[in-house]
């Protein structure tokens, strides 16, 4: 029983890291623009498919495909921003409709180009097992993605707190009008946020391609998961995303171990509802929460 619990906690922690990597880009864009980018999951998926194409067509290791994926996902993200910035009225609602539509377009583009088959890396190193103390088991891909995701999130958190642009992002998130009066160019900062979100999406796509399987319908699933974690964290909170994601990962994993794998999604949703009931603005919410 002890072994089962330990493995459940370890698996939950790693799953949480993976969820956080997917969700943090969504949280960043929401923090800056008050826009829920419903195409975020599809951007993650696009990065995964670029890694797949690089590996199968050119024999490139998925790690080496990250710069190419970053350029493609960054361009797609910039297009999403360009379209969003043209919305003049009711931006919060209209942006939902626009990004949902863009997500469908991206999914179908992926389906047309790469067909509906499932794919994952063929590099065996990523699937090899890593054993800690003869008790905790994981794939190399999961541990590498967890560590990489943590480093990336820490980097974003540091950037938000200690760089001029990062502080400008937070200022814009806190009070757009005041930030503009203080000399912050909102358009530059917003597009910068989208590009950072593209970087995070690219890494998340790489993590999924190496540790899970990818297929065209996955993007929507990723967006929903990322949205739940973003709301649970408190809209726009980066550290909250990590903690919320790990909470979801651990509760799901414990549910699989002690109840049933078919109840894991339900357990995550119950946790989500309980947190919102106790703290309606999420774990780290309450106003403009970016970087808190």
């Amino acid at each position: 029983m002890f072994e089962l619990t330990l493995q459940a906690l370890f698996s939950g922690l790693l799953a949480g890291g993976y969820y956080a990597t997917v969700a943090v880009g969504l949280a960043l864009v929401f923090g800056t623009m008050r826009v829920i980018n419903l195409a975020h999951g599809e951007l993650v998926l696009l990065a995964a498919y670029v890694a797949y194409a690089a590996e199968t067509s050119y024999g490139v290791n998925p790690v080496m495909a990250i710069p190419v994926a970053l350029v493609i996902v960054g361009s797609a993200s910039a297009i999403v921003y360009a379209l969003l910035s043209r919305i003049r009225q009711d931006r919060e609602i209209n942006s939902l409709i626009l990004t949902f539509g863009l997500g469908i377009i991206l999914t179908n583009a992926i389906l047309s180009i790469w067909k509906a088959d499932i794919h994952s890396t063929s590099d065996p190193w990523f699937q090899d097992s890593m054993v800690v103390a003869d008790t905790l088991f994981a794939m190399n891909a999961e541990v590498a993605s967890f560590v990489g995701g943590l480093v990336l999130m820490a980097g974003v958190w540091w950037w938000l707190n200690h760089s001029w642009q990062g502080r400008a992002v937070r200022a814009l998130s806190s009070n757009r009008a005041a930030a503009t009066l203080m000399g912050v160019n909102p358009r530059k900062i917003e597009i910068l946020s989208f590009l950072i979100a593209a970087l995070l999406a690219t890494f998340a796509g790489f993590a999924i391609y190496t540790g899970k399987t990818v297929f065209p319908a996955l993007g929507h699933v990723l967006t929903v998961k990322a949205f739940i974690i973003t709301v649970l964290a408190g809209m726009g909170s980066i550290p909250g995303v990590l903690i919320g994601a790990v909470m979801i990962g651990v509760i799901e994993s414990l549910t699989v171990t002690y109840l049933s794998a078919s109840l894991q999604e339900l357990a995550g949703m119950i946790l989500f509802l309980v947190v919102l009931f106790v703290s309606p603005s999420g774990l780290f919410g309450g106003g403009r929460a970016l970087a808190r």
Partner: protein, 392 residues
């Protein structure tokens, strides 16, 4: 003389045109409808079946050339039951003679109900849930069922002599039905069975597999799900290395696609398969099917294409028979289909009063060195099973 010749030419031309006109009136164009998930989570299987349907249309147009021609109008149900119903209603409105397609028992259920209301035959191989035929719709037909898959899985596990089996299954209609049927049959034969249900959103199977490893300690793991579930389960098993002798699955597993895409995970894994891979066809129809498939899609046929082809070809032949008997326009197609008794690429097909093919029994294949070798039943086997053997 000139006038007489002119009259002769005119009369001859009239006679010829009447003859040709009569001939043209006999040749008919039939429009079939197809409702399939071409996008969404079942896009992979939907597209596979669509390829088989296209091959059936192509081959039927060749074999009935000069007599009849066939077209198919396909609507994507986007893996949504509601859109499946809308697709069937649209096809009915467009005047199709019958519907071939459908994937997923939860989509086929309401879609075939809409076809029943419209008086249209609905034939499928994509839904094996027993509830589909238990409704007793006279217009519903399917060429495969849970029983056929369960027989194959149970037969193989028994041949292995497994005393303890862990069944890891997806909580959908068809997968749950199959898992429960295998559980009942194995339990009745004295096998200890552990049941582990999972949700389609599960991507990390390690906690579940750890239960199998530490609590169940089975001889064999039986998986009932779809491709991405199998990959997740096998990866978790490869990491945790439970002490089992075999890993057995059902559909979408013993395929060329899985052998090519996940060679490190598939070695020694079993799954249902009508054909070995590389494909070996001997019957003339099967050879023509494989050649047409290759011509249209530039790849070897898989089981989805095979099933899609068989259901559509049986439908087309029944449409022609009903038309020749003059009953097609009078709702005679279901009766004509029920008269079917054909040896097909998936074995003998006949339909009972509920439209089920009770002859259906699957075969089991095993991934061996990038190939799929048929290992069960003995009379269909083209190789021996590697046992005990697992991918790790």
């Amino acid at each position: 003389m000139t006038r007489t010749l002119a009259n002769f030419v005119t009369i001859s031309a009239l006679a010829l045109s009447v003859t040709l006109g009569a001939g043209a009136a006999q040749a008919k164009d039939f429009l079939l409808g197809s409702e399939l998930p071409l996008t969404g989570s079942l896009a992979r299987v939907g597209q596979g079946m669509h390829e088989g349907i296209s091959v059936a249309i192509e081959m039927a147009n060749r074999s009935y050339a000069g007599k009849h021609s066939f077209k198919v109008q396909t609507i994507d149900d986007e893996t949504s039951p509601a859109k499946g119903v809308a697709a069937v209603e649209k096809l009915a409105g467009d005047g199709v003679v019958a519907i071939t397609g459908g994937y997923g028992s939860n989509i086929i259920g309401p879609a075939s109900e809409a076809a029943q209301k419209a008086g249209l035959v609905y034939i499928t191989s994509g839904g094996v849930s027993p509830e589909l035929t238990q409704r007793g719709y006279p217009t519903f037909f399917r060429i495969n069922n849970t029983d056929g898959y369960a027989l194959a899985m149970i037969g193989l596990l028994q041949e292995m002599g497994a005393k303890k089996v862990s069944i890891v299954y997806l909580n959908k209609d068809a997968t749950s039905s199959l898992a429960k049927q295998v559980n009942s049959a194995l339990t009745a034969k004295g096998v200890t069975v552990g049941m582990h249900e999972f949700d389609g959103s599960t991507s990390d199977f390690k906690p579940l597999m750890n239960k199998v490893k530490l609590q169940d300690r089975p001889d064999a793991i039986a998986m009932v799900g779809y491709e991405n579930d199998y990959v997740g389960i096998l990866r978790a098993a490869k990491v945790l290395k439970p002490q089992v002798k075999a890993v057995v699955g059902v559909w979408s597993l013993a395929t060329a696609q899985m052998a090519k895409e996940f060679p490190d995970l598939m070695e020694n894994v079993y799954g249902t398969s009508m054909l070995p891979y590389p494909v070996e066809f001997t019957q003339p129809e099967a050879v023509e099917f494989a050649a047409t498939y290759k011509k249209l899609f530039n790849k070897d046929p898989d089981y989805l294409g095979q099933f899609g082809y068989v259901q559509t070809r049986l439908l087309i032949d029944a449409v022609v028979r009903a038309d020749e008997a003059g009953t097609l326009a009078k709702g005679g197609l279901p009766d004509e289909l029920r008269k079917t008794d054909a040896n097909t690429l998936i074995g003998r097909v006949t339909f009972d009063k509920n439209g089920d093919n009770l002859n259906f029994t699957h075969r089991m294949g095993q991934h061996q060195g990038g190939k799929v070798v048929l290992v069960w039943p003995q009379d269909a086997a083209n190789g021996k099973m590697n046992f005990p053997a697992v991918p790790w």
